[in-house]
Symmetry: C2
Subunit: 366 residues, 2 copies
């Protein structure tokens, strides 16, 4: 069983392939793309240890010359300094315009490898082999690449589209549970903002909290439909504007919660889960959404093992103040993405701050 989603773009289209055993066949998927012989494989020690040898073997068997650059794992290494290491590796491997950088890893590796590919020789080929659920359904799609500045996340970057995204669901078996759940938050998001059918299939599953309880079929569906949603939204809106804004569902309050807890207590997916709960309740208060739909969303989030309440000790006033400083705030009005049905949202900056307060109070720690 495999799915291929073609992302149509003005310059060059590319495929997202969801295929069990995909890692062992990367070379075959790359062959028809007429890429040069040289490949620089970028990964971190954890992921490379699990899947590096398989990927290598497949690339070598199809005639690619592979060199490696293994960067330390973790968001705190998503820096210009790591990019400098990638440039040195690109130079030492004598990469040419026709060469390819392959990212094997989560969103951190994908963002960095993509930025190096965007800027080495003013742009060389790029292939994504995302290995975390978040990278599969979110980070690997849409062409955003980049690194953090010491004073802010993702401030440095470029748009650079991959030539191929290869998703092998089987690599999720080694992903830590908490990382898996973080990705599930984005999956639920796609259900609410875009894909009621995906939402229904998630509801029908008995357990969603670990990949091993999810059937191969359902996992394939989750990956395929999530990628379709993101690809559809971003290909209609290649640069950030209009439609792309709906992808921020759950992220307005989510970002505030993440940053107030220093990106440590709560991870991105957990923050988004809390943010979706908040946005859902705001929509109910404003009579945009039914309480029943909001309850269904909460049940789904909880089935995944994700939180729906603010972390203990977080001050409501601080959350509201942080919302105001978000870079997307215009003229003091916070922009929210709010559901109107399961599968449909609207973007609005007309949410009274009293409503925000009330909802945060309701989901605050008792």
């Amino acid at each position: 069983m495999k799915s291929v989603i073609t992302v149509e773009l003005p310059q060059q289209s590319y495929d997202i392939v969801v295929a069990p055993e995909g890692v062992a066949h990367l070379g075959n998927w790359m062959e028809p793309l007429k890429l040069g012989k040289k490949v620089l494989l970028v990964s971190n020690p954890i992921v490379f240890n699990h899947y590096g040898a398989k990927l290598n073997a497949s690339l070598a068997a199809t005639g690619f010359e592979v060199s490696h650059c293994i960067l330390p794992a973790g968001e705190r290494y998503k820096t210009l300094n790591s990019i400098q290491k990638l440039y040195d590796a690109a130079l030492n491997s004598r990469l040419e315009r026709s060469s390819t950088i392959v990212a094997l890893g989560g969103g951190v590796i994908g963002d960095m490898a993509g930025f190096a590919a965007a800027t080495w020789l003013r742009g060389i080929h790029f292939v994504q082999v995302p290995t975390s659920l978040l990278a599969m359904v979110d980070a690997a799609i849409g062409g955003k690449t980049g690194v953090n500045h010491p004073k802010g996340k993702n401030l440095i970057g470029a748009f650079h589209q991959p030539r191929l995204v290869l998703i092998d669901p089987q690599v999720l078996t080694t992903l830590p549970t908490r990382e898996f759940r973080a990705g599930m938050a984005e999956v639920i998001k796609y259900g609410v903002i875009w894909d009621a059918e995906l939402f229904a299939q998630l509801e029908a599953a008995e357990r969603l909290d670990q990949p091993r309880y999810i059937s191969e079929d359902l996992l394939q569906t989750i990956l395929t439909r999530s990628c379709q949603s993101k690809a559809h939204v971003v290909s209609k809106d290649e640069k950030e504007a209009g439609l792309r804004a709906i992808l921020n569902y759950g992220h307005t309050i989510g970002h505030a919660v993440e940053s107030l807890t220093g990106y440590r207590v709560v991870n991105h997916g957990e923050a988004v889960a809390i943010g979706m709960e908040a946005a859902g309740r705001i929509a109910v208060e404003l009579n945009l959404w039914t309480p029943e739909a909001c309850d269904r969303q909460r049940a789904l989030i909880e089935k995944t093992g994700l939180p729906t309440r603010l972390p203990a000790g977080l001050k409501i006033d601080e959350v509201v103040a942080t919302l105001q400083t978000d870079k997307k705030v215009q003229a003091g009005k916070v922009r929210f993405v709010l559901p109107t049905e399961i599968g449909t949202v609207k973007v609005t900056d007309e949410v009274p701050s009293a409503v925000v307060h009330q909802v945060l109070q309701a989901i605050g720690s008792p």
Copy 2:
């Protein structure tokens, strides 16, 4: 007297404005572009000293909030390290997606400021105010931005189009003569590869070796027609391929001469002048060009004060060997751009190496 050349691009078109007193009116030219309020002005101490105050005043008068980042002058500072300083300045000035980076300087400043604009927040607005002749007629047009890697020139970079290029011919009065001549090599190049009328107007001038001997009218014509040639070629071929290759006229042997002399004895323009003389002679040997046309080209180069003979001590064999290592060499065949008429060239990799040898011998030091 002013000229406006509109460069048509699929995403967003922009104007190249050639206007005496332009520096004092930058703000007015930027106003209609609907840019954000914040501007980060990038320059070096020499150029900023001459023109910074004027530019500042104009931007302030039209309501822009200007901050500065002054980088040290010189090619050896065209590094990722300088880019990091630009990022810090962008952060400290709180640049937003709608903000603009303005480059005031030669090609070195333009390339770096452009790369920072390409990669800060994944791309913000960029305005070029080129102050060297080379930057005016070449570096500022075409969207190439970037920096050097310690082991190779321009290896790191991105394509990023400016929103405006403002050329003020009057700033050339302070440009060192040798830098002026370097730019004239590219001007003559446009005459030979594309614009016979420009070539004829250059021939008609009494002196070309210093800007002060060139009439205001002729200078305006030189700048306008050169920009038109480059803009036309690159807008037909936004990424490097096909047509854009003709811009390498004189650069094949030119690059070899530059790199063999360590980028010190001979500057880029001087190397291109020597390269054009060599390419012209090769074309004559191959019966593609008339000896008369080649003589006319030599007379024009010499009138500008540029060399047409190899620097003393350079070994012919080394030049030929270096040609072979050029990154554009495919399957061992060196690609040449050769004139067939004044105003027309063809690209060929069918030049017998005996002919290359013979021509280099003829222009070698006696």
